[in-house]
């Protein structure tokens, strides 16, 4: 309905919309395109993109829901009709045609029979679904055991290679407490990507100082209080790549500039906060030497069916800044900054 939309508190996490299908918001904007198993659906026109491979002579090859999206449901995008819940056996919707045909949506991929069955009743469907549910549950248990086994092997292997931080973090993820993990600041400061991000922020503060000092009159002081964020990705050859990957470094400064004659002294402190969330993104994967390509989907599976839980990682440290700017009346000014 025009101008009526639902915005979840975390829209990133809620991907589904009309007819329970996954939204493809990148195409036409929020809620205007959906993906089902058999179609890509344009919600504004109410039409599928591809021609329906099943010819229905009484309607267009691009029509959906029998042109009745309010009355019908079509979970897979292949056939509108009477639908029943895969969990409760309750009727979800109808095509309004009293033809005795019923559908159970996605669960039918586990059934060798056709999408439609004649003389199906909610009771018979419920029994059928019960056996399908058991089969699905059994598949999930074996998959869970296989995945958790793979992750335990990863932990053992990382430990043997001396990747202590990676080991600790992966174990914390699987244990599922979700509590924030403090990462050693000394360990982080040795990483090149962390150093680069920190230096990028330092340069931003230095630029601000150089923009400001000339406006100071003799005897005047100025307190620069500001912060900068820099995002960085660690090298694939460092342990941090497997522990975090991409992270943010936030530097908050409190720096005093004081002009005394032709000299401007610079003194201050900067607090650096390193942070990242230990989480996984559907569709991504990482190559781990000795283990091949590990899909993020496996970790998401452990989250969904096990107790694994994402968590925040953080660390902080301080730097002090001292420096001096010499003002030359006849030549270029010189500046010197020392970060410790």
């Amino acid at each position: 309905m025009a101008r009526r939309t639902y915005t979840a508190s975390s829209t990133e996490k809620y991907r589904f919309g009309f007819n329970t299908q996954q939204k493809d918001d990148e195409i036409y904007g929020n809620g205007n395109a959906m993906s089902a198993q058999f179609w890509e659906y344009g919600a504004r026109l109410g039409r599928r993109w591809n021609v329906d491979p099943v010819v229905k002579v009484w309607q267009s090859g691009y029509s959906c829901f029998g042109n009745n999206p309010i009355f019908s449901v079509d979970i897979l995008g292949n056939n509108e009709g009477d639908y029943y819940s895969t969990e409760t056996g309750q009727k979800l919707g109808s095509d309004g045609v009293d033809d005795g045909k019923s559908y159970i949506g996605e669960s039918l991929k586990y059934n060798s029979t056709k999408d439609a069955c004649n003389n199906c009743t909610p009771e018979s469907l419920k029994n059928q679904l019960s056996s399908i549910s058991k089969e699905i549950a059994s598949n999930q248990v074996s998959r869970y055991q296989k995945t958790i086994g793979q992750y335990n092997t990863l932990i053992t292997d990382a430990k043997s290679k001396g990747y202590n931080v990676t080991t600790k973090l992966l174990q914390h993820f699987i244990d599922g407490s979700g509590t924030t993990m403090k990462i050693s600041s000394k360990w982080l400061q040795k990483n090149g990507a962390v150093q680069d991000a920190e230096e990028k922020n330092q340069e931003r503060f230095e630029e601000q100082i150089l923009d400001k000092y000339e406006s100071l009159k003799n005897g005047q002081t100025f307190l620069l209080e500001d912060y900068w964020d820099a995002m960085a990705t660690s090298s694939v050859f460092s342990e941090l790549y497997y522990a975090s990957g991409t992270f943010t470094v936030k530097s908050s400064a409190s720096i005093e500039l004081a002009r005394n004659g032709e000299n401007v002294s610079v003194m201050g402190k900067v607090t650096i906060i390193w942070q990242d969330t230990y989480d996984w993104h559907d569709g991504l994967s990482a190559f781990i030497p000795g283990h091949g390509t590990i899909s993020d989907f496996d970790a998401l599976f452990l989250q969904q069916f096990g107790k694994a839980k994402p968590f925040n990682m953080e660390s902080s440290w301080q730097r002090s800044l001292s420096g001096n700017i010499s003002i030359n009346q006849y030549w270029l000014d010189s500046s010197d900054f020392n970060w410790k």
Binding site: G29, E214, D226, Y227, M231, L332, D333
Partner: protein, 100 residues
């Protein structure tokens, strides 16, 4: 502005007298899945005022036109700076203590 910068600017202004770049509409930048992305949402009038305050503080050139704020493409394409400007324009503490 520092003298060094002025001298460099003078040199470049002689070498490239016609150097200029276009103004583009300011968009918020946010982090999603460890990547910077431009927000799809348009800025409201009150958003524009806050963004203008941040840009003024950092001496970033901007133009106000047709209920939108425009900045140079050179600034616009720097995702990280745009993210920092966006973040500060949403930070009431920063806004209250950084008025030019």
């Amino acid at each position: 502005m520092q003298k060094n910068t002025i001298i460099l600017l003078l040199i470049f202004s002689f070498l490239f007298p016609l150097c200029s770049d276009n103004f583009v509409k300011f968009k918020y930048v946010e982090i999603r899945n460890d990547k910077y992305i431009y927000s799809k949402e348009d800025l409201t009038i009150s958003d524009i005022k806050l963004v203008a305050q941040v840009l003024s503080y950092y001496n970033v050139e901007y133009k106000l036109k047709d209920s939108a704020i425009f900045i140079r493409f050179e600034v616009y394409k720097d995702f990280e700076m745009m993210y920092n400007y966006s973040k500060k324009s949403h930070d009431p503490n920063w806004l209250s203590s950084h008025v030019k």
